[in-house]
Amino acid sequence: MSDVKKIATRQAYGEALAELGEKYENLVVMDADLAASTKTSIFAKKFPDRFFDCGIAEGNMASMAAGLATTGKIVFISSFAMFATGRAYEQIRNSIGYPHLNVKIAASHGGISVGEDGATHQCLEDVSLMRNIPGMVVMVPSDYVEAKAAVQAAIDHNGPVYLRLGRSNVPVINDREDYKFEMGKGVVLKEGTDVTVIATGICVDSALRAEELLAADGINAQIVNMHTIKPLDEDLVVECAKKTGKIVTVEEHSVIGGLGSAVCDCICKKYPIPVMKVGVQDVFGTSAPCDELMRRFRLDGQGVYEQVKEFLGK
């Protein structure tokens, strides 16, 4: 697998903005002194008149974006997930969410894959925070290809969107002819009958690796890429529940409030079956290289494989 192309989803975001800036003259981008890291710098270089560096003031950025959106602009605001959704939560809720304004919160550095910066910069609550806001769409692309598609989808949707992006280079898994992105529609990457593994973001790759290991043990797992967490593809979740009888969710996020919770909300309402939530188990992250963190938090292929086996009692 070492020859697989690896690119960070934030890179896709920056490139997509710069491309789409041509087509959408009302596209405006804001950042809070992290343009080099969130990759909005690519847009800034090309469209300096439509880029605002707001300085280190995320709350002000979110509310200013709301003001801009009242005049018909499509506004993307970026920072690290921790500060975009944590520091500016209430501004996003009240200035953007309540009036349902056309602002896209595209945050990089989501999850533990941030790596060495440690707990203060590893946001494990962003999906939970954004999912709580009525009318907010939440998308977590799994790779470079999907992140680009998600930026276009965010523009096509009139209303607030949260887009979670990552810092680290991750394998490109969607680079194929028939790839199609539809907001709110999960993707069955592999059919199976014993258990369904529903993953999001960079954990989709982990799920695919786990699937190979499970197959070697004679376990036939269905693998789903749930790139949109809200609105959740409930039809697909129920379909998986009926077909395999067991579901495992996998995310680089707290098990409280993220993909796992969204799936459980659906399952307990529509078709109750056992669900296991693989993710960060209500603890803070810590400093270490990305790969080691994914391994130690059991979110790499091996970790997911082991946890699915434990869940199945095998």
């Binding site: 200013m64 003001g67 005049t71 009036p99």
Partner: protein, 278 residues
């Protein structure tokens, strides 16, 4: 418009504040009354707005950063013709388009949803940025409470507006010197407010919130000021116009009961009649 006409309108704005908060049995009369003359001046003299075309992209914008004084704004919008004055009695009731705090989705004439202090000024800065980007010459006004300036976000917004030299932005501070917990000097003094705005590269003007000559002079100065935003610090009296509410922190967020409503309206009607005899 003559000052006398503005005074008559402000008197009616105040009556609307009493009528609506009484009907709602809740709301914020104190700060609505202190800002009544400012609302009146903005909507009947200063701003280029048309109630028959509330979404006109060239209109001047107003963001009520101190969103809790919605009764004052609603009363003004009703008198201006955005919706019927009688509807003020639906304030804060189930199904009403007059929410407890301004909601741009439901109320004609409301340019931005506000209520959480400190956020409105940022939104106003965003709108002012948009005007500049679009080469439009509309102006953006935002009204803050003096207690509201205790919010750090106010100064993030001021820093950015000053830095960007947004001379199409006019920040107004309703300086009635009272917040819920008492005198602002005793709670967490934001003074000197004028020096703070100056430090953030604003042109600062002081005005008497209850004197239309003073307001006229201040807003004209703001309009003439180029190369930086203007902050108008308006010295005001909380509860202005209803003697038993004046300068009382207790009337920040309490509605008048039946008796108090009658007393307040009688006082305002008398003041209104006196204006008509001038």
């Amino acid at each position: 418009m003559e000052n006398l006409e503005l005074q008559k309108l402000a008197n009616k704005v105040r009556q609307g504040v009493i009528i609506s908060t009484h009907a709602a049995k809740s709301g914020h009369p104190g700060g609505s009354l202190s800002a009544a003359d400012i609302f009146t001046y903005l909507y009947f003299e200063e701003m280029n707005v048309d109630p028959s075309n509330p979404k006109d992209s060239d209109r001047d914008r107003f963001v009520l950063s101190k969103g809790h004084t919605a009764p004052g704004l609603y009363s003004t919008l009703a008198l201006k013709g955005y919706f019927p004055f009688e509807d003020l009695t639906t304030l804060r009731q189930w199904g009403s388009y007059l929410q407890g705090h301004p909601d741009m989705k439901s109320t004609p004439g409301v340019d931005m949803s506000t209520g959480s202090l400190g956020q409105g000024i940022s939104a106003a800065v965003g709108i002012a940025l948009a005007a500049r980007m679009d080469h439009k010459d509309y102006r953006v006004y935002t009204l803050l409470g003096d207690g509201e300036t205790e919010e750090g976000q106010v100064w993030e917004a001021a820093m950015y507006a000053g830095f960007k030299k947004l001379d199409n932005l006019c920040v107004i501070v309703d300086n009635n010197n009272l917040q819920i917990d008492g005198n602002i000097e005793n709670v967490c003094s934001p003074y000197p407010i004028d020096k703070k705005f100056e430090a953030f590269n604003f042109h600062v003007v002081k005005a008497d919130a209850h004197d239309f000559d003073s307001l006229r002079e201040a807003f004209e100065e703001a309009r003439m000021t180029k190369g930086c935003p203007t902050a108008i610090i308006c010295k005001s009296v909380k509860g202005k116009g209803v003697s038993f509410m004046e300068d009382q922190a207790g009337w920040h967020g309490v509605a008048p009961n039946d008796e108090q409503k009658e007393a307040a309206l009688e006082e305002l009607r008398k003041a209104g009649e006196a204006l008509c005899q001038m």
